[in-house]
């Protein structure tokens, strides 16, 4: 896939504080790119840098083929940003809010109206289009802010905590929207604390704390940090001889009991798992389930970002 966003040594200092320290990123066109890090790690500052809202102290970046610092106006045209706060004009209607921003992005009056209707319908807010935003719930405001960020159909959409504070239904709408964007080849740069959401949505994830610590797919990071494990749930509970049989199978790196199951770690599950099933069945065990054992992304996060085992 083609790079749509690249940075080299991108740095932002505020006085003596280094908020973003020599960040190297390579985001591909059409992917959902997760940006995970603790509070105060510099995620929002990175977003502001990449949207040409603030200038870097050093380093360089290209966004959609435009150079940061030289083509800032073009960069702002091709990106959309969802900020931490919805930042809507509360006294004005949903319709007026979106049409106004459409105009700021250079859409003609007709296109701004068409896009406003599209996105209000998409976000389930069409019936409330004439109501002042002040009367909206937090979830509705967040959906409005997402609609505003996407109204001009940007190539790259930067989303800062898009589902924070949303009820499950609204969060689902937002996640489906992100998936639909990816399906249309648009790039989404997703800052989130919701690790389950990042795991479900992101093609690749950068773990970040002032600088990028590691970037990869969630599955690759899991495999690297925890190996690839398979869970065998037996009925009745597994016996000591079942564990012994499993350990004797070639390619098994480790096997143990855990919560009434046998957990087997192996570098090549495609090759080893059929042998394990046969060994257990031959030994008289009744296998109820065979499932891939995935460490939670939270464990991966804590290990990479916080250095915790």
């Amino acid at each position: 896939m083609v790079s749509v966003l690249r940075t080299e040594g991108l740095t932002k200092r505020f006085g003596s504080l280094v908020a973003v320290d020599a960040v190297d990123l390579d985001v591909r066109e059409g992917e959902v790119f997760g940006y995970l890090g603790p509070n105060g790690a510099g995620k929002t500052t990175t977003l502001r840098l990449l949207c040409a809202l603030i200038a870097p102290s050093s380093g360089r970046a290209e966004v959609g083929g435009f150079r940061l610092g030289r083509d800032d106006g073009q960069i702002r045209s091709i990106v959309g940003i969802l900020t931490e706060q919805p930042g809507l004009y509360e006294r004005q209607s949903a319709w007026d809010n979106l049409v106004f921003f459409g105009t700021l992005y250079g859409l003609s009056a007709g296109t701004a109206r068409v896009q406003t209707e599209r996105f209000l319908r998409l976000m389930g807010l069409w019936e409330r289009r004439g109501d002042a935003v002040a009367t909206f719930s937090r979830g509705m405001k967040q959906k409005m802010a997402i609609a505003r960020a996407a109204l001009h159909e940007p190539r790259i959409l930067f989303l800062d905590e898009p589902t924070t504070g949303l009820d499950p239904d609204a969060a689902k709408t937002v996640r489906e929207f992100i998936i639909a964007l990816r399906g249309e080849g648009r790039t989404v740069f997703l800052c989130t604390h919701n690790l389950d959401e990042a795991d479900r949505l992101c093609d690749r994830i950068a773990f970040f704390r002032h600088r990028v610590i590691r970037t990869d797919t969630a599955d690759q990071l899991r495999a690297e940090l925890y190996g690839r494990a398979t869970e065998f749930r037996l009925l009745p509970s597994p016996r000591a001889e079942d564990l012994a049989r499993v350990r004797a199978v070639p390619g098994v790196r480790d096997a143990r009991f855990e919560n009434g199951s046998i957990i087997v770690e192996t570098p090549d599950p495609l090759r080893t798992n059929p042998l394990l099933v046969r060994a257990l069945v031959d030994g008289g065990a009744r296998i109820a389930f065979v499932t891939e054992r995935k460490p939670h992304l939270e464990d991966v996060y804590l290990r990479i970002v916080e250095g915790r085992e």
Binding site: L53, S77, L88, D96, L104, L122, R155, L181
Partner: protein, 277 residues
Amino acid sequence: MTATSGPLAVVARHPDRATLVRAVCIREWKEALGNRLLVGMTLLPPVVILAAGIVAVAAAAANPPSERDVQALYAAAPAVQGLDPTEAVQGFIATYFLILFMLIPTVVPLTMAIYSIIGEKSSRTLEPLLAAPVGVGELLFAKSLASTVPSVIVTWIAYAVYLVSVSALGSGAAVNAVTAPRWILAIVVMVPLLTLLSVNLGILISTRVNDVRVAQQIGGLVVVPVVGLGIAQVTGRVVINNEAFAQFALVLIAIDAAVFFLARLGFQRENILSRWR
């Protein structure tokens, strides 16, 4: 779900300046009209000044001045000595209220300009606004115009109503005073320039202050030189001839440009997003 209308179906670009200014003005005016407090604070001064002026001219026409009033007037305003006392009093009163009309462009737009920036600060709407492909100078210019235009129109309407009322109720001297060329020039030329000064000062103060009341108190100081000059003009202590008037207008244009430049310096993406709280 279909998120967009397809790859690059909609192309965003920098909006042309006229469209930007129109969009910002319409949005700001809708916002202002939805804020009863702001509408009240904006319309109250011109309504009070206008009503007081009309009542004062009508009262002067209905009640001939006492000898004591006339002597006091001659002492305060040597320029009217020699005129018929009744005419002189009416002329003086009519002109005195014109000074107050010059306060409208310094007071009325200040509140709107301050709300325009501090309101955006407090509602956190500046970041999405600044993320759009528009220049901050253009944005500031549009905001400045959005506060200036209503104030100028309100002042001109108030002047027109005052002129009609004085013509109907007052003496010839009062009408002559209100339609004196230097006052018409003041209304036509000085009102927009003073309004711009007040607006840009309001914006400049708003870049430094987060409290609307504090900003209003600081910005209110702009009325002091205006009142001083107006009183000196009415009482004849200072006579502004055409040449002085033109010079004064040029100085005001220079001050307007300087204040806008300073406001522009304070209104930058980096400052707003990193330092404004």
